[in-house]
Symmetry: C2
Subunit: 221 residues, 2 copies
């Protein structure tokens, strides 16, 4: 009985298989890039035939868009969780900056650059980028509004402040693929410095909070 000549088929429910495909694609998106999401590559990861991927995603572009959405969405949830049951807004922001300053954030920066470029040619992806931009912006805006109410943040416009911080983050992240040597400390801290200034916080407030966070605080859920 030849085992290799005849493939063993594993039959799953459409919902489960689809989720599995998107998860595999999101993993590739985050680690290797959106261009590496090919029918063959994802099929190989899941040990199925390429035709099956086409069955669930008649257009490969749709899978790329979905993969980006899932990857970016999950990262946002890990960096700035939606439910803030404990901890002040300042602590949540500090945790974000602690994570976003580390090397582990490079994958996220790369993903965003990747998506922003590729969306030039892929309308479906472009639409997803817009959705995720809005999600990140709104998540930040909400934290800032909480901080204005409870934590002494001072800003005329929470949403403009959120955008300002995100613009600086994007600008710093732009170098994730080319930066070889370390950058000056003042540059690495540009995002958190901008946040402190724009939120009317004493210089060093957030970065000091970020430094005090333990490994457990930073651990992803």
């Amino acid at each position: 009985m030849p085992s290799s000549v005849q493939r063993k088929r594993v039959r799953k429910t459409p919902a489960a298989r689809r989720a599995e495909i998107v998860a595999a694609a999101a993993r590739v998106a985050l680690t290797e890039g959106l261009e590496c999401i090919t029918l063959r590559r994802i099929a190989e990861d899941l040990d199925v035939r390429p035709g099956l991927i086409s069955h669930y995603f008649p257009s490969a572009e749709e899978l790329v868009a979905e993969a980006f959405g899932q990857a970016a969405g999950r990262e946002l949830d890990a960096l700035l969780p939606n439910e803030r049951t404990e901890g002040s807004p300042a602590h949540y922001l500090a945790r974000f900056f602690a994570l976003a300053t580390g090397a582990a954030y490079d994958d996220v920066s790369r993903l965003w650059i990747n998506a922003r470029h590729l969306s030039r040619y892929r309308p479906a992806l472009r639409e997803r980028v817009g959705v995720q931009e809005a999600a990140w912006r709104e998540r930040f805006t909400a934290v800032i509004e909480d901080g204005v109410r409870d934590d002494g943040f001072r800003t005329d416009s929470p949403v403009l402040t959120a955008i300002h911080i995100l613009v600086v983050l994007d600008g710093l992240g732009a170098q994730a693929n080319s930066r070889t040597v370390d950058r000056p400390q003042a540059v690495a801290l540009l995002a958190v410095t901008t946040a402190e200034r724009e939120l009317g916080l004493e210089s060093g407030t957030l970065s000091r909070l970020a430094d005090e966070l333990t490994e457990a605080d930073l651990a992803r859920d």
Copy 2:
């Protein structure tokens, strides 16, 4: 005498042909993207055979890197000319921001996103990106140093200020491919506002100068 069956050959000096190829590739890079620089595409633009491009650039990646370098370098020269025979540093900066805020700058933003992403996979391009980053940074630093000397700019570190401005520009440019609706004025002015603050200039100084520039001032040389 069939005219189309037999191609007429135009024989040029290696230096001239090479320059012509790079110029065509740089044009494609700026208008359509670095991925569109293919042997066939450039050959068609120049009305030669693809093999000829391979002859001058045995590795296509080298041509892509060269095209980016030329395109980015020329744009820098157009936006912030090297020789400042007349006009104050503030005027030079104002002219830059006037140009960099307009829609015409979108092609430049797109080029940078493109290069920053693609350099993830292309070492030769990554190296060129580093060179151009340094060139842009140094050009800005020089203008700022001049302004500190002659024009009342105040900053502890011209180079850090230059980096800060460039980071904000990169962050704003990141949306060049996805932004569909206009952004708030305060966001569009983020770069010039950052420059004014970091250079110790009265708020509105540079943007007012930028508004006063005539078409002739903005015209490219």
